[in-house]
């Protein structure tokens, strides 16, 4: 038998490879009765696939010989990261190669804070030894082997110091501590001092959009707002618990997020700081550090409960939780400038790199792939209220100690509510209506 290929001339097949096949589509919805069901199935598969491919942990930067107390990613350069540890050592990292570029014995005692300048050329660090060091990055690179390099400038503070934050626009930086001080590069003494009350301030942050505004959290459970133009602060609000960290929303410079010791994060509008606009719950222990994504839509928080959580800026509960078996208490977190990665420095002497979207592919992604992922995301968004999909998407594996603590807290909360309710029922007219939770957390607003 001789085999020969038949030439097909029907309209459906292509005559050459370059030919475009026509797609005939009828937009009438009556012709597609199964569209909804098919999309549901796809959404279900997409959520499951996301779970399977969720691998958020990218790697760790190890080298510090003591717990990492503070880290900050460069705001200008995506590959640079600076970290300080409890033994006074500062390391500058190259993230793509995951190695230390520069190692410095900067302080006699614990490093309290590190910060990059806007252009990424200067680094400021503050320590418990009441000194502030200003380093020039190119100069450091020249003698990268010398661990005892002198800083470009060394400032001495009279009182104890907290963290340090560099101004986003000017050549100035602010330090927390007994007194909030604003320093200039060229002045040996602070150009401005703020003191209100007796207790010291633990953390200060400059507004990324406005070079005049500074926000701080103090040890006397207050959140204070300063204006550099005025000699005193603007106003403060006292909460029930002390807060240790705060972050400004870079896209909406009206809003700040603070991490509180009562394991919650609070969003404040600085125009009306009397009440928080939102409470973000999920941690089970004190929040040690918060950092905002540069897109302004998410923030990350590191906690004493050995987890990192990513919160949407307008939601009460976290979107994502990251934990590791060997990760200890998280002291500091930072977002990369392109809003793709999260860095966390913890007590176990490591700095960890995490993906913001756990299942996102790292590397070059072609257009077809992005379209497909976009479609999957859109489907998940569309069917997010569906019970099955909601259940799968919401599920997170948590270690036992977290689950138990969470249950315990839930029980405590329920019993407290029950007690309150019973008391009200048995003694009618004696109790007032309970205050909303936002109000309960605030003690006093001081102007």
């Amino acid at each position: 038998m001789v085999k020969f290929n038949t030439i097909c001339r029907s309209g459906q097949e292509r005559s050459t490879n370059a030919d475009i096949t026509k797609v005939y589509r009828n937009p009438n919805p009556k012709v597609h009765p199964l569209a909804h069901a098919r999309e549901y199935q796809r959404a279900l598969v997409a959520t499951k696939v996301e779970k399977i491919y969720a691998q958020p942990f990218l790697g760790a930067l190890n080298g510090h010989s003591d717990g990492v107390s503070c880290i900050e990613a460069c705001r200008f350069n995506l590959s640079k990261l600076v970290s300080g540890s409890y033994d006074g050592e500062i390391r500058i990292w190259d993230i793509p190669s995951r190695r230390t570029l520069i190692q410095l014995n900067a302080h006699q005692q614990m490093v309290k804070g590190v910060s990059f300048s806007r252009d990424g050329m200067r680094i400021v660090s503050s320590g418990e030894d009441k000194t502030i060091n200003l380093y020039d990055f190119p100069q450091l690179l020249e003698q990268s082997n010398n661990t005892f390099q002198d800083p470009l400038m060394r400032y001495l503070s009279k009182g104890t110091l907290g963290n340090v934050d560099h101004n986003y626009q000017l050549s100035q930086f602010a330090t927390a501590g007994q007194v909030v001080q604003v320093w200039d590069y060229e002045r040996p003494k602070p150009i401005m001092k703020f003191q209100w009350g007796v207790d010291s301030v633990s953390c200060v942050k400059y507004s990324p959009a406005d070079s005049n505004l500074i926000c701080g959290t103090s040890m006397d459970r207050c959140v204070i707002l300063y204006d550099v133009r005025a000699e005193s602060a603007i106003h403060k609000v006292a909460m029930l618990n002390k807060s240790q960290c705060l972050a400004w929303n870079p896209i909406e410079p009206l809003n700040i997020v603070i991490g509180n010791d009562d394991s919650n994060c609070y969003t404040y509008d600085i125009r009306k700081i009397e009440l928080p606009t939102m409470i973000h719950k999920d941690h089970i222990s004190a929040v040690m550090s918060v950092a905002f994504s540069s897109s302004g839509r998410e923030f990350v928080s590191g906690s004493f409960d050995r987890t990192i959580r990513i919160f949407p800026f307008n939601k009460g509960f976290s979107r994502e939780v990251y934990h590791g078996q060997r990760m200890q208490q998280v002291n500091s977190v930072s977002f990369s400038a392109d809003a793709q990665f999260v860095y966390s420095g913890s007590n176990d002497m490591n700095i960890r790199i995490w993906k913001v979207n756990a299942s996102q592919k790292v590397g070059i992604i072609n257009q077809r792939e992005t379209n497909a992922t976009n479609y999957r995301q859109a489907l998940k968004e569309k069917f997010k209220y569906n019970p099955e999909i909601k259940r799968i998407a919401k599920h997170r594996h948590l270690p036992k100690y977290l689950m138990n603590k969470k249950k315990q807290r839930q029980e405590m909360k329920e019993s407290k509510n029950r007690k309150q309710r019973n008391a009200e029922l048995n003694n009618p007219g004696q109790y007032e209506a309970p205050k909303p939770e936002k109000q309960q957390r605030i003690e006093q607003f001081i102007q």
Partner: protein, 631 residues
């Protein structure tokens, strides 16, 4: 002579001074060795020299008045509080500039951080108006609006405008002169004047009001302190004052300003209608040329290939025809050269019945058109009258026999329907009455049996011939009931009871030894008889019966079972983001996949809300330079 004069003057001045000093010394004190220093002594001494008392009094009053305004020394805490207050107000004012940016970001469908500037996506509502689709149309509309505005203004105040402008010019000149005065003495005098006025005002106030005023003054001072310190002593500002900022930014500023200037000048040239220098011919020529281009464009588009979808083509055609007609109308207007054409065009568009209006107005002169504009409110009614007249005269002739027949035919069934409705209403009312009295199945049966057994009259037969379906539908509903016998009825009741029995909870299985306890003082329980068990069952069934939806419906079994298989595809509770279920459904009817959408729309539908890209640094928000300058 000059020297002598000078010496003389000096002597005179010295003499005057000495005199003054003498008076001062005299008034001041004349201490006596015996007495202590007292106010009474002072007054006595003053009274002794009666001439100087008045001057002292005036001096004393002046000091007292001044003391009212002179600020008391503030404590540091007070001062801090004031400064805080002021700082808060300044901050709140300052922060307002971010609000529009924040609002825009929150409201926008998506934010693309991979691009430097977020491009605004045009909405559907913006492009709904066909006229606004053409850039020419927009231009024309704007021009017309401006023309109208200017004319209205001219009519309202032709003369007062000049006076106002003259006054303003005079005022400007005055302010310029005053601001150009550099002498310190003048400013001192001015300040003194102001202070005197303030003093007078303060003297009139009550103490409480005065305190308030003083507080206000303090706050304003604190504000001044803050702003002054910042604006003058800031390093950036001092550098700017010395060097004038960067050269680049300066150039950019200048070029930007120049651009705006040119634009404004161009606009002003267009708008110089007040002096009558608006060159209409040029404008008209431009408009005509653009309109012609537009028409060519439309023709070309009409020749283009059509899509596969019929309804899309139809809509496209309609749109094109609309725009074409509008463009042609405008062209004819412009070419005819009537001044009124431009004015009237807008009103025509608004009313959408332009033909009658247009003919009247084009024929008329300026005066007529003005009258028409004034009587715009009544145009609609006039048109209506015209239309009815035309109908009677011309259009009646055109009506064919066919249309009249169809009208006639359409009227008949309406009448029939009305009759039927009346009958139906009667029967329903009868039924309702019976239901209220307590109707049984048998009653219904008897009633419909009668109806069926009735002999059909001639009229009914006619009705049947005209529309047999309706009568059939009426009677079919009860057809089964009439045919049913008692057996079927009983079977139905049995079925219903069975359905209820299924709902009963399962009885606990009898375990051996359970309930047969032995021991002292235990009462023996007799096992239930069959009757008792049945009675209990009936009780339970009755309870269930009460709860059922079909408790009062004898002829119906409503199944209350739910198919749980499908529930996983449904949302059990309406999410809080939506107000009603229709809204929720509407959002979820549109499929997103490429099978049901074109590729472009599929991509547009599935775009994420926030677009970020690895490697693209996102900077914190900045206020655009142009706005920053204004602030």
């Amino acid at each position: 002579m000059g020297k002598l004069n000078k010496e003389q003057r000096l002597e005179k001045q010295l003499a005057k001074k000495i005199e003054k000093q003498d008076v001062y010394q005299q008034v001041k004190l004349q201490e006596t060795e015996e007495d202590d220093f007292n106010v009474a002594n002072l007054i006595q001494t003053l009274e002794d020299q009666g001439q100087q008392i008045d001057s002292v009094k005036t001096q004393y009053l002046r000091v007292q008045e001044k003391a009212r305004i002179v600020q008391e020394p503030e404590t540091q805490a007070e001062r801090d509080q004031q400064e805080r207050k002021v700082a808060a107000t300044v901050m709140k004012q300052d922060i307002k500039k971010w609000l529009p940016i924040v609002k825009k970001n929150r409201e926008s469908e998506r934010i693309d951080f991979t691009k430097q500037r977020n491009v605004q996506i045009s909405k559907i509502s913006d492009t709904s108006n066909a006229l606004l689709n053409n850039h020419l149309g927009v231009k024309l509309q704007n021009a017309m609006e401006e023309v109208e505005k200017v004319e209205q203004k001219q009519e309202l105040n032709g003369q007062s405008n000049q006076q106002k402008s003259n006054l303003q010019f005079y005022n400007d000149l005055k302010m310029k002169k005053i601001s150009s005065i550099k002498s310190k003495i003048y400013k001192q005098i001015k300040k003194k004047k102001g202070n005197k006025e303030k003093l007078k005002l303060m003297a009139q106030l009550t103490p409480a009001e005065r305190r308030k005023e003083i507080e206000k003054l303090r706050l304003s001072r604190a504000k001044e302190r803050i702003t002054l310190r910042h604006s003058t002593k800031n390093k950036f500002v001092s550098q700017l004052l010395r060097f004038g900022g960067d050269k680049k930014s300066l150039k950019q500023q200048q070029s930007f300003l120049n651009n705006i200037k040119h634009q404004l000048l161009a606009k002003a040239q267009l708008n110089e209608l007040e002096d009558g220098e608006f060159d209409e011919e040029n404008f008209r020529e431009q408009a005509i040329s653009q309109l012609e281009q537009e028409l060519q464009d439309i023709e070309r588009r009409e020749k283009e290939k059509q899509n596969n979808f019929g309804f899309l083509d139809k809509q496209k055609k309609q749109d094109l025809q609309q725009s074409k007609s509008i463009a042609q109308k405008l062209l004819t207007m412009l070419k005819s050269g009537n001044d009124d054409a431009i004015q009237l065009d807008e009103s025509d568009n608004q009313e959408q019945n332009s033909d009658d209006n247009y003919e009247q107005n084009v024929n008329g002169d300026k005066d007529k058109s003005n009258i028409n504009i004034e009587n715009n409110e009544f145009n609609g009614r006039a048109n209506f009258v015209n239309e009815t007249k035309q109908l009677t005269e011309t259009q009646k002739k055109r009506i064919d026999a066919k249309t009249s027949l169809s009208n006639y035919l359409n009227q008949e069934p309406e009448k029939l329907q009305q009759q039927n409705k009346q009958e139906k209403q009667l029967t329903i009312q009868d039924e309702k009455k019976q239901l209220i009295e307590g109707l049984n199945i048998k009653n219904i049966k008897q009633k419909y049996e009668k109806q069926v057994n009735q002999k059909l009259t001639n009229q009914d037969l006619k009705k049947l011939q005209s529309d047999p379906d309706e009568l059939l539908q009426q009677n079919l509903a009860n057809f089964n009931l009439v045919l049913d016998e008692d057996e079927n009825e009983n079977a139905f009741i049995d079925e219903k009871i069975k359905d209820m029995e299924e709902e009963l909870p399962p009885e606990p299985a009898n375990t051996k030894g359970w309930g047969s306890w032995a021991g002292f003082g235990i009462k023996e329980k007799k096992p239930l008889t069959q009757e008792q068990i049945l009675q209990n069952k009936i009780k339970k069934i009755r309870e269930i019966q009460k709860k059922r939806q079909d408790a009062k419906l004898d002829n119906v079994i409503i199944s209350e079972k739910r198919d749980t298989k499908f529930s996983k595809y449904l949302v059990p509770k309406l999410p809080s983001e939506f107000t009603n279920s229709e809204q929720f459904d509407q959002l979820h009817t549109l499929p997103l996949g490429p099978e049901w959408n074109s590729l472009t729309s599929h991509q547009a539908l599935t775009q994420p809300q926030i677009i970020t890209k690895a490697g693209v640094v996102i900077n914190p928000v900045k206020i655009p330079q142009q706005i920053n300058k204004l602030i």
